[in-house]
Amino acid sequence: MNTQRSIYLDYAATAPLLPEAREAMQPFLEAEFGNPSSVHGHGQRAEAALESARETMARHLNASPREVVFTSGATESDNLALRGAAWAAYRQSGARHILTTPVEHDAVSQTAEQLAALHDFELEYLPVDEYGRVAPADLAARLRPDTALVSVIYANNEIGTLNPIAELAAICRERGLTFHTDAVQAGAHLALDMQTLGVDLLTLGAHKFGGPKGVGILYVREGVEIIATQTGGGHEGGQRAGTPNVAYIVGMAKAFDITQAEIHQSINRLSDWRDKIIERVLDSIPDAKLTGHPRERLANHASFVFKGVDGNALLMLLDAAGFACSSGSACKTGDPEPSEVLNALGFSHEWGLGSLRVTLGQQTTSDEIDAFLNTLPDLVDRCRALEVA
């Protein structure tokens, strides 16, 4: 095994499983193996755990348990939201217009593109500013009577920017149009109140907030119709067929409970460190820029571009030096292209290739951040030397 230890600064990719979540899951991987649909005691106990988990999720979302649909993760939730809402709107009124942004996660953008390519939906992109934010007025101006669905990311995974979701959702609500937000990155770092936020559909994935991978939810506001995209037994109120993954759902609820209960302390602590990272990096490294909004951003998220740096080389050097970071997009296979998001924000090739994302979490310490800040400038220098070599 590669046993190299490193300081983990990639919480936006995934967070470690909380020990409490692991413990809560344990019985459902052992004695409590029942199928929640079964009539007998095994089934009853599994169903009780399932519904208790649903209640926990709903409570922290200020929603009704009936509005929580369990899925296999955020990608499935995004797929269900887009396809399910678009098909429902089309069936109801023939609506074919989908509005989204150029800075969505692939789970949204690829689904929207497939709806356009295979199902004749008309896909339109809202403009975003240099920070990747949508202006409410731009949304209002583009809504049409035949708009089937609007989907705008809450907190951008690559650049950390927060969108004014409550304002955007309100505009759609006035006109009776369905509004979805992918809130995957927000789950661990924002309080989420469905009543003040006002969205119709919201996606969460458990592993970003200390739950297991492979489980998530789609919040579906009561009265909002979606058509099931995975058909079968009538699980989850007919909205998502398939035997629920009880253990993972229980683990997710436990992790969400702990995370949301401490959310305000966490935001305060992490945003101080985030600001320190941003300040020190921009001070100590020439030709460095912050990506995303300087204030309206995730508490745990600092992201940069460095001119004339190969972002993948920088990640490799950071890993060898004991720091686990990301370039902000899935670059494991060494994809040479700057991300779609950075392209959409207008970064040139020379800047866009040199992206770095530093994301903090519950186990991050102040010492780890100092160690990182002391190491980074030298590694950026070494990467720049490679480009001129």
């Binding site: 993948n312 296979t333 990467c383 070599a389």
Partner: protein
């Protein structure tokens, strides 16, 4: 960690580089793996034979199994700008380029080596079959592999002393069978490797189709002439022919005819008899001398003119402009501009080499018996 130093192994998912990594680790080096992502045409990005997703997956498994960090390194842009350009230019100039030479020189032993050094490595290793000899206060010397069938010193003549200083080749003393045995003993996964000679970035296509798309002028038809200038037929693009080629000329003649040379100025393919194929001199472009220093006088050497050719005795004369002239003891068939001429001594040490530019002078005709030996 007690370590003989940090070495980055250029991995491919193949058995050779996997065993190289495992051996170096066993020898006490701190080992990291890197794998290049190389260019293939848009739409075939995943099909470059050197870095398919399957090969990448195997390399990751090997790294995980022996417990070393592994990094995929994207070299697509650099590969396109150096190796693919070199390939297209070579054909445009009437040569038969060998892109593996350019890849080893510019991609593996420059682009990747620089990344390895930036990572803090002391050495870079590959699964090539060649040997190095290191003696104190001496330049590192490059030798043929013990396994003559697998020897890759021809392509690695592109390494200069500065690169050799950082190079390790743990397989040079082993036979391919021994390497397979080590892989089996360590239970290392390996790709079902077809030992393909196709160029990696062609992704299984015919190189002529590729040239037609990227270098259409290479496919412009012209005359087929004999040495006297008599038109014998029509060719469909010089790039479609190789020196020494007999088949596919479409000419009926009493004795077999071969491609002798490509006259780029006239866009003419020159053909002739087997006897006319033999040449006993060639000139090279700039020579890479492994010791850094060109010999001051002509010297006797064994010279190899293609990857698969046998070495032939010759006298090599270094020229003041850095190039060289080679005079073979016996005429050689198929001296092909664009391929390298690599100079060895009798101990199998690589002394230097350079790209063949052309023939210095025509060989005397009608030395049939000697030519047959050279074949």
């Amino acid at each position: 960690m007690t370590s003989k130093g940090h070495v980055v192994v250029a991995m491919s998912g193949g058995v050779d580089s996997s065993v190289a990594a495992a051996l170096l680790q066993r020898q006490g080096y701190q080992v990291s793996g890197m794998m290049l992502r190389l260019w293939s045409e848009p739409g075939r990005e995943m099909s470059n034979r050197c870095c398919t997703p399957e090969a990448m997956g195997i390399a990751r498994r090997v790294a995980g199994q022996i417990g070393i960090p592994f990094y995929a390194v994207n070299a697509q842009d650099t590969f396109r700008d150096t190796v693919v350009e070199y390939f297209l230019d070579g054909y445009a100039q009437g040569g038969t380029p060998n892109p593996c030479l350019a890849c080893n020189r510019h991609i593996r032993w420059e682009f990747l080596l620089n990344r390895a050094l930036a990572l803090g490595a002391d050495f870079m290793a590959t699964g090539h079959y060649v040997r190095l000899v290191r003696e104190e206060n001496q330049p590192v010397r490059l030798y043929e592999a013990v396994d003559q069938h697998k020897d890759q010193s021809y392509v690695l003549h592109v390494l200069e002393q500065a690169q050799l200083q950082h190079a390790l080749f743990p397989l040079g003393d082993l036979t391919k069978d021994e390497v397979r045995a080590i892989a089996a003993e360590l239970d290392l996964p390996a790709a079902q490797s077809k030992e393909s000679q196709d160029l990696c970035f062609l992704a299984g296509q015919d190189y002529r189709d590729f040239l037609d798309r990227y270098s259409p002028q290479a496919g412009s038809p012209g005359p087929i002439l004999d040495r006297t200038g008599r038109q014998m037929g029509q060719h469909d693009g010089l790039a479609h022919y190789t020196i020494g080629q007999r088949k596919g000329l479409g000419i009926a003649a009493p004795e077999p005819l071969y491609v002798l040379e490509k006259d780029i100025a006239r866009n003419a393919l020159i053909i002739g008899t087997r006897a006319e194929l033999g040449r006993d001199t060639l000139v090279t472009g700039p020579v890479i001398w492994q010791s850094c220093q060109a010999p001051s006088a002509p010297f006797a050497a064994q010279v190899k003119i293609r990857y698969s050719a046998r070495k032939a005795a010759a006298t090599v004369t270094p020229l003041p402009d850095g190039s060289s002239e080679v005079a073979f003891d016996e005429p050689q068939r198929d001296i092909t501009p664009g391929q390298a001429a690599v100079f060895y001594n009798l101990e199998g040490e690589v002394l230097g080499g350079g790209l063949i530019q052309g023939e210095a002078a025509p060989a005397p005709a009608a030395r049939e018996s000697l030519i047959q030996i050279a074949v």
